[in-house]
Amino acid sequence: MKRVAIQADDFDVATELAALEQLGGGGIASFTGVVRGEGGLIALELEHYPAMTQAQMTRIVDEAMARWPLLGVSVIHRHGRLEPGARIVFVGTASRHRGAALESCAFLIDWLKSDAPFWKKEHMSDGATRWVAARAEDEAQALGWKA
């Protein structure tokens, strides 16, 4: 099972997990990212490059499935305007054993949070807006997987 989606709409974590639980594996790992409302943030606006983002997300999921013995992967990323508390990203992986499920889930979310072709604009409560700069710490974390 392989599912890669980029969408404006919210998603239902329970539906995604239920599909992964049906695959006969012993372990399902997941990560859900939520918009934090810190420092006066009232909304995050996510822009992406549709053809490239979908292709690259599919490629990284294929890489994870080649690297770990996975029965299923589900990756969902939202775009558009998201307010604090909104879900922004989901990664779910299913495998016979927990190690493969946990490691591949961490690998995929590290890639999504650092290398995926998204750009984020912060809307603040005082009316200011700011494009988020690339985060050096995320890049360092993703590099760890390439070593």
Partner: protein, 86 residues
């Protein structure tokens, strides 16, 4: 040969003021960096978006590409800030 499609994202798009356009295909052998220099020379929003080439990243036909990549017969060049992830 057909014109070249350019697409812009994030503050590159905002500074230029549109999300893409068609331009005449550059001379054979021209790189993405050459294209950026040529666009920045238009001044105004183009200069603002593309004047500091160190801040610009690119993709050719939906794949990341270094700025010294030759454009060749590519159909679509994307110019954008470093990606920030989701």
């Amino acid at each position: 040969m057909a014109a070249l499609s350019l697409v812009y994202f994030a503050w590159v798009r905002e500074s230029i003021g549109c999300d893409g356009e068609q331009v005449a295909r550059p001379a054979s052998g021209a790189t993405i960096a050459d294209l950026i220099t040529q666009l920045a020379a238009r001044g105004d929003g183009y200069a603002l978006a593309l004047g500091d080439v160190a801040r610009v990243r690119a993709a050719i036909d939906q794949r990341f590409a270094p700025l010294d990549t030759v454009i060749g017969d590519a159909r679509e060049i994307a110019l954008f800030p470093p990606v920030t992830g989701g």
